[in-house]
């Protein structure tokens, strides 16, 4: 099939190109386009546009023929001239108008770039629309459904063998750390175990190695370009293949190098190993009751996917009927492309995720654009009486209504085009800062045809929005009145303008309320009592072999004067996800299934993390506590004990007694309820991290810790994290949205105030005679100030009536996403409205004061 060049530029060409050239030129361009298309289709499209643009020159443009009796061209030239003269004559208004438009357009452009980038996440996979991911919904007996992506291996086998609708499956592990050694260099890298099909299903570029075989051999490993460069230097392309990495227990041979996963992918990894290697070493995966790896399915048609969804739903239940401990669960599938934006599950049903922020920001961008357009409309219509003589004269000379309408459309488009061009400049200048703010690398790529469509569309939308009202209203002026000067504007026009001001301020208030609530929630989250002391607590991942030297490591660390306490544990307590469904206790209903978190640690855990024991006692070295457990409040409630102390509890085949109840602490983010938990010190050598409580976070103590670690685990790189920083990092997207909302609230107020400033100065000017007469008759400055300000102040007050309920509804809805949330109180609304009112009144007041203090002689002597 023959590819056709972009339609729009082609139309433009046909419109301006002289008729005897058009066929040939179009043929030439088409030929060029198709030749370039082979190499790079986006470049070809952009170059096509450029070529059309360069063809717009005398000699090629068709002759404008006057003999047909159409004087469009002359009129357009006249409109242009008049528009320019008017713009230059009232520089203040023009600047106000343009500035508002530029700020509005530039900020919405930035947001829309961000939105586009969010939507592009994971979009580089060629068959991305055919990939689905399986999730397990596990129903707890307390009614809560928890959703996880780890599914049992037998399910993957079953789908692979028995589902004809599924073209291929790929198993993919959770993110694992692996310490690799090559010659004398050693680093810890993160990666996944993956099925060989993974490489075919997803489009991660393979730079070296055979895509079809790279994950076949059990001892093979694929590494990222970054790792390859780290170990094999510049010549990695020829050096890397076949080299042997030493692992603690095995040797791995490099079978391929893939391109770094990059910012557009949610799957981030630096190595890949065949799943079979993990399966062989871990027999537990063969049980239907154990969730293991993630499962991706490749399904070619939507309709087949529906059938798969139906078929797979009860598979786990059906295969675990004989198992009493098995829970009540369902399997669902979700499109892989949706997993980034729709990642939140609420009771097993997809309930949004980042898409919420994407939607919010889109709406905000549109609002800002509308606010800017309203300014344009209001200033143009309010000042139309200045143009009334012109309109009247045009009518006398025979202009029809629609040609006057055309004129005002033309002016709107003229100004909008300038504004869009300038905003593009502003955006280019601001992008580096904006990128820093949202932590992305956005860019405006002028080689992409979409960028041109976007800019053109912007001109069209903003021009139409802001030009329509003036273009409809102004031609309706009657000839007589406009020639006499001073058109009395209809009641409706006035009302409409006031309505628009109300709308502007309502949006600004809404944004301020939104910002305040988001900040309040972030503040709440970051300062909430989490049940442990998160400051000055660091986690150090345990290197291979360190688990055996735990005691030495601890004693060495404790010798440092700034180290208060040390404990080993299976993870960072603030983001913890290791759980069991096999826990049972006295009086438990045998058929009920619960997921209970388990932390394996040592006797110093509670003390080091700063948790609080509510009942019973902490573990202690003297008491031989290895078969005793501490549970949290949620677990105590779940188990239904009035006094849990001394009750029997067992899981993973370990039987023991409960010796204490710890105060609830957060193991997950604020969107989730606190999960039940068992803490055990049965086998500290299973630990994955060291938790160290330090006195202050000076560099010296970290240096000393690094030295000790290096002595015990030579050759490995030392890394650590502050628990509170990791925690704050988890709310990054909320903080970004908070900052963005803050900026946009400010911009919205700025634009609205600019509009208000224009309107006030206009009405002050109109009423200058009235003010003069009043002053001559003894009115005080204050009285006149009141007279001028009260109208607009009233409008601002009305806008609050609209904004407050809307703000309450929207923000309550947002807060409801959080399991733990701040309350919406009156103060938020009071502060928000007070800020807006103050700014509005100050704007109006400043301008009115100027009018009220002017010498009345000036305004009165004219008649």
């Amino acid at each position: 099939m023959l590819i056709s060049p972009p339609k729009l530029p082609l139309k433009v060409l046909k419109w301006f190109c002289s008729p005897d050239l058009v066929e040939d030129v179009e043929g030439d361009l088409g030929e060029l386009f198709r030749t370039r298309y082979e190499n790079n289709k986006f470049r070809a499209q952009a170059l096509f546009c450029l070529d059309v643009l360069f063809l717009f020159r005398p000699g090629i443009i068709r002759n404008i023929k006057f003999k047909q009796g159409l004087n469009q061209y002359v009129m357009l030239k006249n409109y242009f001239k008049i528009a320019l003269r008017n713009a230059l004559r009232y520089k203040g208004y023009t600047a106000l108008n343009l500035f508002g438009l530029i700020v509005g357009i530039a900020s919405s452009m930035l947001v829309l770039l961000w939105v586009q980038d969010e939507r592009n996440m994971n979009s580089f996979h060629e068959n991305g629309d055919k990939i689905y991911q399986a999730f397990r919904n596990m129903k707890q007996s307390n009614g809560v459904v928890s959703t996880t992506s780890s599914v049992p291996k037998p399910l993957a086998d079953l789908v692979s063998d028995g589902y004809s609708e599924v073209d291929a499956i790929a198993s993919f592990s959770w993110l694992m750390e692996m310490q690799i050694t090559y010659e004398d260099q050693s680093t810890v890298e993160e990666g996944h175990f993956a099925s060989p099909e993974f490489l075919n299903m997803f489009s991660f570029p393979i730079l070296v190695g055979d895509k079809a075989k790279a994950l076949d051999e059990l001892n093979s490993v694929m590494i990222s370009r970054a790792v390859a460069e780290k170990y094999f230097g510049e010549n990695w392309q020829t050096e890397a293949l076949g080299k042997i990495f030493k692992l603690q227990t095995a040797n791995l041979s490099v079978s391929g190098v893939f391109e770094n996963t990059g910012p557009n992918s949610t799957l981030q990894f630096d190595w890949l190993r065949p799943v079979q290697a993990y399966y062989n070493a871990n027999r537990w995966v063969n049980n239907w009751g154990n969730g293991s790896f993630g499962l991706y399915l490749s399904i070619s048609e939507e309709e087949k996917a529906d059938r798969v969804a139906e078929r797979i739903l009860m598979e786990i239940m059906d295969h675990t009927v004989d198992n009493d401990a098995a829970g009540d669960e369902e399997v669902i599938i979700q499109k892989f492309e949706d997993t980034y934006l729709y990642s939140n599950f609420d009771n097993g049903v997809i309930s949004g995720g980042r898409i919420d922020y994407v939607r919010i920001m889109t709406v905000v961008a549109i609002f800002i654009l509308i606010v800017a357009c309203i300014n344009f409309m209001n200033l143009t219509t309010a000042r139309s009486s200045r143009r009334s003589k012109e309109i009247g004269l045009r009518k006398v000379m025979g202009a029809r209504k629609n040609s006057i309408g055309t004129q005002f459309y033309f002016e709107a488009f003229f100004l909008t085009t300038i504004a869009v061009a300038l905003s593009t400049l502003v955006v280019i200048l601001l992008l580096p800062y904006f990128n820093g703010l949202v932590d992305k690398s956005l860019s405006l790529d002028f080689m992409q045809i979409n960028t041109w469509y976007f800019l053109g569309g912007l001109v069209l939308v903003v021009g139409t929005l802001s030009g329509s009202y003036p273009a409809l209203l102004l031609p309706t002026f009657s000839i007589l009145q406009s020639m006499k000067g001073g058109v009395k504007q209809s009641f409706f026009a006035e009302l409409f303008r006031k309505g628009l001001v109300v709308f502007q301020f309502a949006i600004s208030t809404l944004l301020i309320i939104g910002t305040a609530v988001v900040y309040k929630q972030i503040d709440y989250v970051l300062n909430k009592d989490l049940g442990l002391v998160k400051e000055n607590l660091i986690t150090i991942p345990l290197q291979a072999g360190m688990a055996q030297k735990l005691e030495t490591y601890k004693t060495e660390l404790l010798r440092l004067p700034d180290v208060k306490a040390v404990t080993a544990s299976t993870g960072n307590p603030l983001s913890y996800g290791r759980s069991t469904s096999s826990a049972s206790w006295e009086g438990k209903d045998p058929s009920a299934g619960y997921e209970v978190n388990v932390i394996i640690t040592d006797e110093d855990f509670i003390r080091t993390s700063g948790m609080e024991i509510l009942k019973g006692r902490d573990f202690s070295e003297q008491m031989q506590d290895s078969s005793n457990f501490i549970i949290n409040e949620v677990a105590a409630q779940l188990m239904g004990f009035d006094d849990p102390l001394g009750k029997d509890l067992s899981f993973w085949g370990i039987n023991g007694k409960i010796t204490g109840v710890v105060k609830n602490f957060h193991m997950s983010n604020m969107y989730e309820p606190i999960a039940p938990l068992i803490i055990t010190c049965i086998d500290p050598s299973r630990s994955a991290v060291m938790l160290v409580r330090i006195d202050n976070n000076s560099g010296t103590v970290l240096k000393s810790i690094e030295q000790i670690t290096a002595e015990l685990a030579p050759g490995s790189d030392f890394s650590y994290e502050f628990v509170d920083q990791v925690y704050a990092e988890g709310y990054r997207s909320e903080q970004t949205v908070g900052t963005l909302a803050n900026i946009f609230a400010f911009i919205s107020i700025l634009i609205s105030s600019l509009g208000l400033l224009g309107l006030t100065s206009y009405s002050a000017e109109q009423r200058s005679m009235e003010i003069g007469v009043r002053k001559v008759h003894g009115a005080s400055v204050l009285q006149i100030l009141m007279l001028l300000s009260k109208d607009y102040s009233r409008l601002i007050l009305i806008s609050f009536v609209l904004a407050i309920p809307a703000g309450y509804y929207v923000m309550q809805d947002w807060l409801n996403n959080f399991e733990f949330r701040t309350s919406l109180n009156v103060l938020v609304f009071l502060v928000a409205t007070a800020i807006i009112f103050l700014i509005g009144v100050l704007t109006v007041g400043a301008k009115s004061y100027q009018a009220a203090t002017a010498n009345p002689v000036k305004s009165l002597r004219q008649e």
């Binding site: 066929e23 040939d24 043929g27 088409g30 030929e31 070529d51 360069f54 063809l55 000699g59």
Partner: protein, 110 residues
């Protein structure tokens, strides 16, 4: 200048049309100039030059066959007229005269 007025770029285009002889149409001319003389030529610039040359009657053109890669649009083939040839000769002989008039010392850059 007189009746053989011709610009530098126009001259290049006209010569290329002569070089290509029976195969001188838009893209071919553009590509030939780009390859032989290593200079960038935009479709717009070339088009304008061709149009001017035709107006000055240095060139004639006729429509040729249509091909698929051109989206079914016909090619327009250009040929140099005898008058065009004269113009080219005039330019060359003018230059020749000037070169011959240069004293050898003028280019002696030692």
């Amino acid at each position: 200048m007189g009746k053989y007025a011709i610009g530098e770029f126009e001259e290049v285009v006209l010569l290329t049309v002569a070089v290509l002889y029976e195969n001188a149409y838009g893209i071919a001319i553009k590509e030939d100039i780009e390859q032989r003389l290593k200079r960038k030529v935009s479709v717009g610039a070339m088009r304008t030059a061709l149009k001017r040359l035709e107006k000055k009657e240095f060139l004639t053109s006729e429509f040729g066959e249509a091909t698929a890669i051109r989206g079914g649009k016909r090619k327009r083939y250009f040929r140099v007229t005898p008058y065009g040839k004269k113009a080219l000769e005039k330019v060359m002989s003018d230059r020749q005269k000037l070169w011959e008039a240069i004293p050898t010392m003028a280019f002696d850059f030692k």
